[in-house]
């Protein structure tokens, strides 16, 4: 009989510039309890990923490990760039199973079904489970990966995770799984526990102006809104400066803090228009399908609204534990939010998460897409905060 109540989570960060030493140092320090079951490593692209992997293994040779590159690391003490953060989860009553899918582009659904296998292998006698996944941020149509997983596990397992970042370079995103450094890959781990786990997601954007109808779309791009070139309609609606119409960087800077809202039953989903810019073709896109005929809105937000959403998401995720105290939180916050929050704002965001974590550790990273399937069948988000709480 498994004894409940002694699960733990440890988080440690190293600012050492030497990748192997930094990873080893953080991994050792993260082991704050007995019986580690899972290690997660988030690291900046300034680090050599192979060295990071080797460093973790120097310190902890045989505990399942997943990880990815980031657009900034989240841990107690504030957000950071250029660091290695290691999270360890362990103790009795918690077990993990892992899966890796490679060469994902072009066969996203199939890859999702491969990742889902780790949920099928999870111990059946542990009633609470969640599938944590990290994806290469350069893979398009990540919703299809989630659909692939959903096709196997159905509504029975909530999903959480994030897409690896690389400081907007779109060249160095990668994940770690099977003790290898992987690109165009997804790593998944099913955490099964005797005690509740909970997932929540939310954003602080609000719709502005009248809705627009998607009148031309395909291949993850929106060509026309209200029968006019989508980029111009989007910029017109938001009163964009002249440069944003003609200059790629100006468009990106403008769009980062102004997602497109896609109408859903329970509210608008925010889509980041800043990553796939098409100045010549005047289309807009976010790598995720926006269907012909959909209703879309220009959205805006500010530091206050985003931080209010941080509070709401943390409150919801803790409520999902059904009265149990958390042992730790994993937070996946969108890279684009950094553009709105600024350096000061992400510090505040970190303080809010720390407040809700109630003296327990937390970690996470700034992502190229947040994964959280709580309700319905969709689970890939932009410009949100997604949080996992473990009790």
């Amino acid at each position: 009989m498994i004894e409940p109540g002694r699960r733990w989570m440890g988080v440690a960060r190293s600012t050492d510039g030497a990748s192997r030493a930094a990873a080893a140092q953080a991994a050792r320090a993260a082991l704050t309890g007995v019986g580690p079951k899972l290690l997660i490593v988030w690291f900046a692209i300034s680090h050599d990923p192979t060295e990071v992997l080797a460093g973790v293994r120097d310190a902890v040779p045989d505990v399942p490990l997943i990880g990815c590159s980031t657009h900034g690391e989240i841990a107690p003490g504030g957000p950071s760039d250029g660091t290695v953060v290691v999270t360890a989860i362990g103790g009795p009553g918690i077990e993990v199973t892992t899966a890796v899918a490679e060469a994902v582009s072009g066969r996203q659904r199939e890859a999702g079904a491969e990742i889902a296998q780790c949920a099928l292998r999870a111990r059946a006698d542990l009633p609470h489970r969640v599938l944590l996944m990290l994806t290469d941020g350069r893979i398009r149509d990540q919703e299809a990966i989630l659909r692939g997983i959903y096709g196997v596990v159905g509504a029975s397992v909530p999903l959480i995770g994030g897409a690896a970042g690389d400081g907007w370079q779109m060249e160095h995103t990668l994940v770690i799984g099977d003790d290898r450094v992987l690109v165009d890959a997804v790593v998944g781990v099913t955490i099964a526990s005797v005690s509740p786990v909970a997932v929540a997601v939310g954003h602080g954007w609000r719709k502005t102006g009248d809705p627009m109808i998607v009148t031309g779309a395909g291949n993850g791009r929106v060509y026309t809104l209200d029968d006019r070139p989508a980029m111009d309609v989007y910029l017109d609606r938001l009163g964009a400066p002249r440069e944003a119409y003609v200059d790629r960087d100006a468009f990106r800077d403008f769009a980062l803090s102004r997602p497109l809202g896609v109408q859903r039953r329970s509210g608008a989903e925010a889509r980041n228009m800043a990553t796939e810019i098409d100045i010549e073709g005047r289309s807009i896109g976010c790598g995720t399908a926006i269907d012909h005929g959909g209703l879309a809105w220009a959205m805006t937000g500010d530091v206050d609204s985003i931080l209010a959403a941080t509070d709401a998401v943390c409150e919801n995720v803790l409520a999902g534990l059904g009265g149990r105290e958390p042992v730790g939180l994993l937070a996946f916050s969108c890279s684009a939010l950094r553009a709105v929050l600024g350096d000061e704002g992400i510090t505040w965001e970190n303080e809010r998460i720390a407040k809700w974590a109630r003296n327990t550790p937390f970690s996470g990273f700034y992502t190229y897409g947040e994964i959280a399937r709580v309700r319905g069948i969709d689970g890939f988000h932009n410009q949100t905060l997604a949080v996992l709480a473990i009790s």
Partner: protein, 501 residues
């Protein structure tokens, strides 16, 4: 319910249509539809059942598909479904007939499906049926490669239907006037089915035995313009479709009413009608009619008519939703905003004023001696007086201003973007003047006066309650000072005014 919920209905069907019409074969169309339906309704699970087997599903863990339970839902033997990892969920289902009957089933964890959502699911089922029929036609045609002409015809037909449905759904989601949407549908039905006559009949009341002609193509204009009504029993296929809640095909019209004969110049030889629904109940029917004795209706024709009828249902349900929303937010007697709507708008305008560096003026208005009119001339006269007051009030306002009736003889007016107190006073004086003109009530010309209290927002005053209290205090001051006059709020007024706490 918000306005957006209404928009969603049209939008979701439009998205589904775009998605499933892009699939090349039946299997992928069914799977796509199942996922899209689940997504649109934020349902955890969805399935298509044909006969006694589940041909596509989403949301059940592999190997745990409750096939018998899903079939039981489609035959209405179950109204809840146990979803692994989620629990007991409310369900909704919609079925279609024809040569390959099937049902769409959805289950959602938290909330039962609303009437509007059920109507959306019916619309989705209809679109799926239509798409499947077309795909089968295509497959058949592809097999018979020699019959290139037929392949081409069915491809063109499919393309035209998709185009028509797009246009109609766009009109619904853009809230075009209902009459315009219904005309679009009758026009499209004629274009696609090719019959000489199309008529849309709606029941006069939900349980009523009469139907009224509301839109048509090819009927005798002089008669149709009068919007004639007809007993259901005499309305041929249109009436039968309403009575049986199913598609009805009739040949020969020797026994029909004189009205039908008049509308069609006695030339109607064959007709088909499909029922339309409003918020789930049969509320009318869409009929097509031919002058040709030999006109037969194929399964594909039946489905096309059903698809258009379903769009009539969608438009009616949507229009009704808008009506209900309007009623919830407006005073039923005067049509002015309700107190709730007014407060909501006031809060928004105060926020906007703060942002734009503008001011908001609030006018509280109370008719003097309204009770005396009500008591001496009766409630009907009192109602007339209130309606005339509301009309005159509105006539003095701009589009950005808002007028509301708070109940009884109390009115409120919000003026946006006022520069000074003098601006608000000018509007209030105009209102007093226009209300002072004689009002034709109960066969007399009544002279009524009103008292108005005015308060202006100040920067940093985002709370509507503060402004309301100030306008209220000013109005009582006006009444105290002798009725038929206006007063602008000053802080001193608070000293002589009893506080509510």
């Amino acid at each position: 319910m918000t306005t957006e919920d209404g928009w969603l209905q049209g939008q979701q069907l439009l998205e589904l249509l775009a998605v499933i019409s892009s699939y090349p074969d039946e299997e992928s169309a069914v799977h796509g539809a199942v996922e899209r339906a689940a997504q649109a309704l934020e349902a955890e699970v969805a399935a298509v059942v044909m006969g006694t087997s589940v041909v596509a599903s989403v949301g059940f863990p592999a190997g745990q598909l409750p096939e018998d339970d899903l079939v039981a839902v489609t035959t209405l033997r179950r109204d809840r479904l146990t979803v692994p990892g989620v629990g007991e969920c409310p369900v909704t289902t919609a079925s279609w007939g024809g040569t390959h009957p099937g049902s769409l089933v959805l289950a959602r964890w938290d909330a039962a499906f609303t009437v509007q959502e059920q109507s959306l699911v019916r619309g989705m089922a209809r679109l799926l049926e239509l798409t499947l029929t077309m795909l089968r036609t295509l497959e058949r045609s592809e097999r018979q490669a020699a019959e290139n002409a037929e392949l081409l015809k069915s491809l063109r037909q499919r393309q035209r239907l998709v185009e028509h449905l797009f246009d109609i759904q766009r009109a619904i989601s853009r809230r075009r006037p209902l009459a315009q949407i219904l005309d679009m549908i009758t026009g499209a039905a004629q274009d696609l089915l090719g019959d000489e006559v199309v008529g849309l009949w709606l029941r006069e009341s939900p349980e009523g035995d009469d139907a009224k002609l509301v839109a048509h193509v090819g009927l005798r204009t002089g008669v149709a313009r009068r919007r004639p009504t007809i007993p259901l029993a005499e309305a041929g296929a249109a009436g039968q479709a309403m009575l049986t809640d199913d598609v009805v095909v009739l040949h020969g019209y020797t026994e029909t009413s004189t009205l039908i004969a008049e509308l069609t110049d006695g030339r109607l030889r064959a007709s088909m009608a499909a029922p339309v629904h409003d918020s789930g109940a049969v509320s009318g029917s869409l009929m097509v009619g031919s002058h040709q004795q030999t006109r037969g209706y194929s399964a594909s024709d039946v489905q096309t008519l059903r698809a258009f009828a379903e769009h009539v249902s969608l438009a009616l349900t949507d229009a009704n939703t808008v009506d209900r929303m309007y009623q919830a937010f407006h005073d039923s007697l005067t049509g002015l905003a309700s107190r709730g709507l007014f407060l909501e708008k006031l809060a928004k305008r105060l926020g906007a004023a703060e942002h734009d560096g503008k001011r908001v003026a609030l006018l509280f208005l109370d008719l003097d001696r309204f009770k005396a009119v009500n008591d001496s001339l009766g409630h009907a006269a009192g109602d007339d007086l209130l309606t005339i007051t509301a009309g005159r009030l509105k006539a003095q306002l701009r589009a950005t201003d808002v007028a509301a009736r708070f109940g009884g003889d109390e009115f409120a007016v919000l003026l946006y973007g006022v520069a000074t107190t003098a601006d608000a006073v000018r509007v209030a004086e105009r209102i007093l003047r226009t209300l002072g003109e004689p009002m034709p009530v109960a066969g007399r010309h009544l002279r009524v006066s009103a008292s108005i209290g005015i308060a202006l927002s100040t920067p940093g005053m985002p709370d509507p309650a503060d402004l309301m209290r100030r306008a209220d205090v000013a109005m009582y001051q006006a009444k105290r000072n002798g009725r038929g006059r206006l007063e602008v709020f000053t802080d001193e007024m608070l000293l002589s005014f009893p506080t509510s706490d």
